[in-house]
Symmetry: C2
C-alpha cells in the first residue's frame, strides 16, 4: 500500500480508557447546544456514581446521537459535513453475538442504501468495558472488493490482497471476479473470528458507462453505492465505541480519481488512455489528466443514471464552504485538514483550495482507523 | 485577492538583524558540505572582527553562492529543487543606484531567458546594514502584467490593479493591452521611488495556441517565459538580502491552472468552456476539469513549439521525487510543504501526493514575500 501523503497530521492515539473528565466536558458541551439536555452537573454525578460501581458508565441514546453527529462535525478530513445534523443513529449497544452483528451491518447497508437515495447512517455497537471487550469488525469498510494475484496480475482490488488471503484461510472463496464483495469478519469474545457473506441484495452496485464513449461499458467496471467505514473507533464523552460503522454517499473523485486509478488500486489509467486513442507514452500530452476527467464523468453519469446519489467535487466543495460559514455563524471554529478536504483532482479550481483551516482536533470524534492485521 | 489556502504554515517572520550566531552555524554547515570552505572557526573570528568595527560583516562571493543554492534547496514550497546546484549567482552587492539596479534586472532577464533555454539565476543586491538601508524592488516578480478596470471589467491581470494604479500615479501609462508588462519600481535611499520600463527584447513571451483547437489562438492569450520572484528577501548566514530576484522556468500549471484561470486572475474558464461547446451551467459535467486540461495542453504545446523551456507537472513531480531521494542519500532530511508541492490539478495522479514531508524550515532560505503596499 502506498503512503497517502495527506495523512500528515499525527493522528491522535486511540483513547480507549474510560474518562470521567472527558465525560464532564461532553455533558457540558451538550448542554450548551441542546436545550433538551439534562443539567450537566446532575448528569455527571450520575455517571460518576455508575462508574464507581461498575468501572464504566452508560450514555443515554440521546447522548449517543448528539455525540455521533458532533463526531461527524469534527471529522477534519471530511468534506461532506454540511449535513451533520441529519445523521441517522442506530443504537445497537446490546447486540453482542457475531451473527447478530453481521445481521445489523446488513440492515445498516439496506437502510443507508434506501434504493439509491442514500442516507448517512451510523450503527453503534457496545463500548469497551473493563474485562468485557466489545465486538470488532475487521473490515476496513463494510463493502470492499477482494483482490487475488493470478498469473502475475491482480484480479480485483490490490489493496485487499492480504485481507483476501486471510479470509480465504478462514474458509471464504468468492466467485473470482474483479468485483467480489468480501465477507464481513467479526471478532467476539464468545465466538472468536467469524465470517459472514453479505447478501447480494444488500449491496447496491452501479455498472459504469460513459455518456459519449460506448466502449467504456465494455471495461466491465462497477462500484458499490455506499462507502461505509467500519475501522474507525468512535470516541464520545469519555467512552470508546470500537465498532461503529458509518456511511455517507460517495464523492465521485473517490472512485474516479482514487479507487479505480491509483497504481495500487484498480490502476485503470493506461487502459482507458489507450482506448481513448491517447499516446500514453507522452506524459506531456496530459493524457493522464484527460483520462481522469473521462473516468470521473463516467462515474457521475452512471450513478446519476442508476438513480444512486453521489456528489461531484465542485458541488461538494461549495457545500463545504457553506458548512464553514455555518460553523462560524454558530460561534464555532470549523476545523479541517486542507490536504484531505481538497479533492484529488482540479484542486485550485475549487473554493476549498483557497482557504486556511484550523487543523485542531476535537472530541467527540472518530479515531484513526485500526489498521488490519491478520 | 483570494486567500491561497496552501499558505497554512505560519511563515517565519522576516529576520533582518545581523546575527553572528547564525553566521557561525552557516560557516560550519558550509565546511561540512564544501571542501574548499575555510575553517569555520577562523572564518567566524574574521566576521566577528568586522562586525565589532562596522556593526555588520561581509560574505565572500563563495559564501553567497553556497548560501543561495542552499536557500533554494530549502525552499519548502518549490517542486523544482532537483537542480539546486545549478543556480547561477550574480553578485551585485556593489550596485546601489536605482537605474543601475534596473539595468541589472534587465540583464538578469536576458541571461535567464537565454533564447528560451531558461537558466535558473539569482541576482543578489546589497544586504541591509545599520544606517544604510539596501535598495528594494517593489515588484512581486520582475515580469508581471498590468490590470486596469475598464467599463466594469478588468483588462489584464486583476491581481495587479492596485499596483498598476500606483505606478500610473508615478507617471507610467503602458499600452492598455491585456498583457502590458509593468515597469520595475525601485526604492533607493538616494533616489526615492523610481520606475523603469523593461525593454521589450528582455521579455520573451509565448503566444498561446492549442495543438487541436484552431480558435484557441484567437483568444489572444500569451504568457512570459521567465517567472522571476523579486519580493522574497534572502537570508544567508546571519544577513538579509532584501533584494535578490531569482528565477526558474515555469511549470505549466502555474500558468494554465492558476494565472489564466483563477477567478481573481485572468478567469478564462467560462470563456474557453463555451468555445469548447461545453455546458458551463452544469458543473457535474466536469466541464471545468475538461477546460483545465485543454488550457494546460495549450500552454505546454505553445511553449514547446516556441522552444521555451517549461516543465509539466508529471515530469516535475518525478524530478521532485528524485530530489527527495538524493537528499536522503546525502544524509539530509528533505523538507517540503505538501500543499505547495502538490500541483493544482490532478493531484492524486502524481507521486508527490503520496508522500509525507517534514515541514520544518531551515536557513539559508527565502523569507516570506514582502507584500506590496503603496
Ligand atoms: C454525506 C455524504 C458524505 C460525503 C460526500 C463525504 C465525503 C468524504 C470524503 C470525500 C472523504 C475523504 C475520503 C478519502 O479521500 O479517503 C471523507 C472522509 C471522512 N468522512 Fe465523510 N462524507 C460523507 C459522510 C460522512 C459521514 C456520515 C461521516 C460520519 C458520521 C463521515 C466521516 C468521515 C471521516 C471520519 C472521514 C476520514 C476518513 C479517514 O480518515 O480515512 N463522512 N468524507
Ligand atoms: C528550475 C525550475 C523551477 C521550477 C519548475 C520551480 C517550480 C516552482 C513552483 C511550481 C512553485 C510554486 C509556485 C506557486 O504555486 O505559486 C515554486 C515555488 C518556489 N520556488 Fe521554485 N521552481 C524552480 C526554480 C526555483 C529557483 C531557481 C528558486 C530559487 C533560487 C526557487 C525558489 C522557490 C521559492 C522560494 C518558492 C516559493 C514561492 C512563494 O512562497 O510564493 N525555485 N517553484
Amino acid at each position: 500500500m502506498t503512503i497517502d501523503g495527506r495523512q500528515r497530521g499525527l493522528p491522535t492515539p486511540p483513547r480507549l480508557d474510560v474518562d470521567l473528565d472527558e465525560a464532564d466536558r461532553f455533558f457540558r458541551q451538550r448542554a450548551t447546544e441542546d436545550p433538551s439536555a439534562p443539567d450537566p452537573k446532575v448528569r455527571h454525578a450520575a455517571a460518576a456514581r455508575e462508574f464507581s460501581e461498575r468501572g464504566v458508565f452508560t450514555h443515554t441514546t440521546a447522548e449517543l446521537e448528539f455525540g455521533a453527529r458532533v463526531a461527524w462535525r469534527n471529522a477534519n478530513r471530511c468534506i461532506g459535513r454540511l449535513y451533520w445534523r441529519s445523521l441517522v443513529i442506530r443504537d445497537r449497544r446490546h447486540v453482542r453475538r457475531a451473527d447478530s452483528i453481521a445481521h445489523e451491518c446488513v440492515e445498516h447497508l439496506k437502510l443507508a442504501t434506501n434504493g439509491g437515495k442514500i442516507r448517512p447512517v451510523i450503527t453503534i455497537f457496545a463500548a469497551d468495558e473493563p474485562g468485557r471487550p466489545a465486538p470488532r469488525i475487521r473490515n476496513e469498510q463494510l463493502v470492499r472488493y477482494a483482490g487475488r494475484r493470478q498469473d502475475g496480475a491482480t484480479v480485483g482490488d490490490p489493496r485487499f490482497e492480504a485481507f483476501t488471503r486471510w479470509v480465504q484461510s478462514l474458509g471464504w472463496s468468492g466467485k473470482g471476479s474483479a468485483f467480489d464483495v468480501l465477507p464481513l469478519v467479526i471478532d467476539t469474545a464468545s465466538d472468536g473470528t467469524a465470517i459472514f457473506d453479505i447478501p447480494e441484495d444488500a449491496v447496491l452496485e452501479v455498472e459504469l458507462s460513459h455518456p459519449e464513449l460506448p466502449w467504456f461499458a465494455d471495461l466491465g467496471l462497477r462500484w458499490h453505492a455506499v462507502p461505509a467505514i467500519s475501522s474507525m473507533p468512535l470516541r464520545i464523552g469519555g467512552l470508546t465505541y470500537p465498532t461503529a460503522p458509518f456511511n455517507g454517499w460517495y464523492m465521485g473523485t473517490e472512485i474516479g480519481s482514487r479507487n479505480l486509478v491509483d497504481a495500487d488500486r484498480y490502476d485503470m489509467l493506461v487502459r482507458v488512455g489507450r482506448q481513448l486513442g491517447l499516446n500514453t507514452d507522452d506524459e506531456r500530452s496530459l493524457w493522464k489528466d484527460r483520462v481522469l476527467v473521462e473516468i470521473n464523468r463516467a462515474v457521475l453519469w452512471s450513478f446519476d443514471r442508476a438513480g444512486v446519489k453521489i456528489a461531484d467535487h465542485h458541488a461538494e466543495s461549495e457545500r463545504f464552504m457553506a458548512f464553514v460559514a455555518k460553523e462560524h455563524k454558530a460561534g464555532r471554529t470549523p476545523t479541517a485538514e486542507w490536504s484531505w478536504v481538497v479533492p484529488p483532482m482540479s484542486g485550485a479550481s475549487l473554493p476549498v483550495y483557497h482557504q486556511y483551516y484550523d487543523e485542531s482536533v476535537h472530541l467527540p470524534g472518530f479515531l484513526p482507523s485500526v489498521q488490519w492485521e491478520p
